[in-house]
Amino acid sequence: MTTLDRPTSARTPHDPTPPERPSRGHRWRRRLPWWLLVAVLGVIALLWIYPFIWMVSASLKSPAEIFAGGLSLLPEELRWENYARAWTDGNFRRYLLNTAVVTIATVVIVTVRCALAGYVLGRYRFPGSRLILGILVATLFVPTGYTIIPVVKLSMQLGLLDQLSGMILALSGGANVAAILIYAGYFRGLPAELEEAAVVDGAGFLRTFSRIMLPLSMPVTATVSVLTFLFTWNAFFLPLVFSFSNPDLRTVSVGMQAFVGENSTDWSGMAAAGVISLIPIVALFAFMQRYFVEGIAGSVKS
């Protein structure tokens, strides 16, 4: 195909318009398979996010319209009162606040403790360093279902079971090994001259870390906090168990289930509650996509 087209354009070199047309058609033909692929991938992508489109659409319809409306995604009339219902009657105002408090506190604790631990594990050899790294790596794959019972029992004994602080501590104490390893890998890669220069300048251990190392690790810190945010915002098992006896502690993921359990026919309220709960995390993803991707890709690379 390519060889046939070329002579055509070469034959009329002096005419200003004809040489363009065949070459454009030629390019089009060569690119056609790619555009077909784009079309196929585009249709699949639409189906891929269809559940979310459906949810947004349902959140703006009246319940009757959802039941009778067939497949149309456009509401006849925008029913913002669904959001008001989810917000106040469904108590999502409370749930959203709880989730925000728990998530932000957990992100701060996890990022700080993982940066500290990752720094010393990545850069120093000291008595016990290999053992600690070994234990951390060995527990990389511990499932929540395995540890949940003692975690609840321990929190009960400490009087933390029915409190947000207990939930925060439990969430920041589990499964953050990956974050420590990301930090350790990053700090290990920094040149040793940095430290030597700091020591020559008279900086102590803490100063070297806080003034030189920590500022350098900002990309990693962004990655770790974004991923921790994601996991905490979306956590379900721990918040569920921690809010059994006190519904005021529910996070959005637990609240959603409770809402559906109490108002099983309120589809539009359910959808509005879902939109309210997902907007913050999707917005974060939209702005910080790079860090999400890098954090997840990091576990393959290292």
């Binding site: 790619w34 692929l37 784009v38 991938l41 891929w48 996010i49 559940p51 979310f52 459906w54 949810m55 959802i66 497949l71 604790i109 993982c114 500290l116 720094y119 010393v120 850069r123 000291f126 008595p127 600690i132 527990t139 794959f141 511990v142 499932p143 279902g145 395995y146 540890t147 949940i148 019972i149 003692p150 321990l154 104490g173 589990g174 420590i180 390893l181 350790a184 890998g185 290990r188 890669g189 251990f205 870390f209 990655t223 994601l230 979306n234 379900f236 098992f237 959005v252 993921s253 959603m256 289930q257 995390i281 996509q289 991707v293 890098e294 890709a297 576990s299 393959v300 690379k301 290292s302």
Partner: protein, 328 residues
């Protein structure tokens, strides 16, 4: 993390580039400085020791103790019963059913995710594909959404009476289809939804792996006159085999975290047909009117051992493959 130096697929952290303190320390001044440094190091580790010790290490050990007692969680008295709980768990056909469902679920989900994401990543990685960044975002989007909320929403999308899917099946004259409500279709349906939900993670793994293939290799292959198939077969594929192993390990391990989706979508039903082990544990420990924490702990310990065994076997295979790869 992209521009850091760790690009090898070795799972164990390499041991280079630490700021090495001189090992044989003689002078007292130096020794004192080293001791002070170590104090700082342990101070830095303290928050992790406390939190991680309380909420990860201690529970792992305590689970073993709890699994040996009879205990309802309300009262303080725990009666030591030895291995009685294990005997009861292993004699419970529901436990074996949960093990089978967990493994079947994994066997449906993992291959679809690993190979499906591989094909999509191959397409998205091509520089000739327009809008590939946009597609990557779209296919990744479900990953960031809250699983427990997606589970609830999916219940409505798949609702046989008025969910959007029911309209589609009616359009094709199939009548109402209750995918989550029948015990024959509930598990495959949940598995497909789980694939959809976390497909983007495996996709990103593969895109990262493909990025490590040096561009000049492709260039050289093109100059040598290799076609697309040849390039793929002789360049891309051999370089990706180590990644295939590690991505499989990560994806398989991920299949054991389906509690959020299952609990909110089917809660183990209908007729326990989607009851994975985590829901089984949850049922006895928290959902029952009289919790059987000892019994549930025994199930939890067995679950931990199962995950350990599955991951261990895979790491072992990975190691064997790497060793034989290094030899040839």
């Amino acid at each position: 993390m992209s521009d850091s130096s760790v690009l090898t697929p070795a799972p164990a952290p390499p041991d280079r580039g630490r700021s090495l303190a001189p090992r044989p320390v003689r002078r007292p001044a130096q020794r004192a400085r080293l001791r002070r440094r170590n104090l700082w190091i342990y101070a830095f580790l303290l928050p992790t020791f406390v939190l991680y010790g309380m909420y990860t290490l201690y529970p792992m050990v305590a689970s073993y103790w709890y699994s040996l007692v009879e205990w309802n969680g309300f009262t303080a008295d725990q009666r030591f019963v030895g291995l009685e709980n294990y005997r009861a768990v292993l004699a419970d056909p529901m436990f074996w059913s949960a093990v089978r469902i967990t493994l079947v679920f994994m066997l449906i989900v993992a291959p679809l995710r690993v190979f499906g994401a591989f094909f999509l990543a191959m397409m998205l990685n091509s520089p000739k594909l327009p809008f590939s960044a946009f597609f990557r975002t779209m296919y990744f989007l479900p990953v960031v959404t809250t699983t427990a909320i997606v589970g609830v929403v999916m219940r409505f999308v798949l609702d046989p009476a008025s969910g959007p899917l029911s309209y589609v099946t009616e359009l094709f004259g199939l009548g109402p289809v209750d995918l989550l409500g029948s015990s024959a279709t509930a598990l495959p349906t949940a598995a497909v939804i789980y694939v959809w939900k976390f497909f983007g993670i495996t996709l990103i793994y593969w895109l990262a792996a493909l990025q490590t293939v040096p561009k000049d290799l492709y260039e050289a292959a093109r100059i040598d006159g290799a076609g697309a198939v040849q390039t793929f077969r002789h360049i891309t594929l051999p370089l990706l085999i180590p990644f295939l192993l590690i991505i499989t390990v990560l994806t398989v391990e991920d299949c054991f975290h389906a509690f959020d989706l299952m609990q909110t979508m089917t809660a183990g039903g209908p007729f326990y047909s989607t009851e994975i082990i985590e829901i089984y544990i949850y049922r006895f420990a928290f959902a029952a009117t009289i919790p059987q924490l000892g019994f549930a702990s025994a199930a939890a310990v067995l679950f931990g051992l199962l995950v350990l065994a599955v991951v261990g076997v895979q790491l072992w295979v990975t190691m064997l493959a790497r060793r034989s790869g290094a030899r040839s």
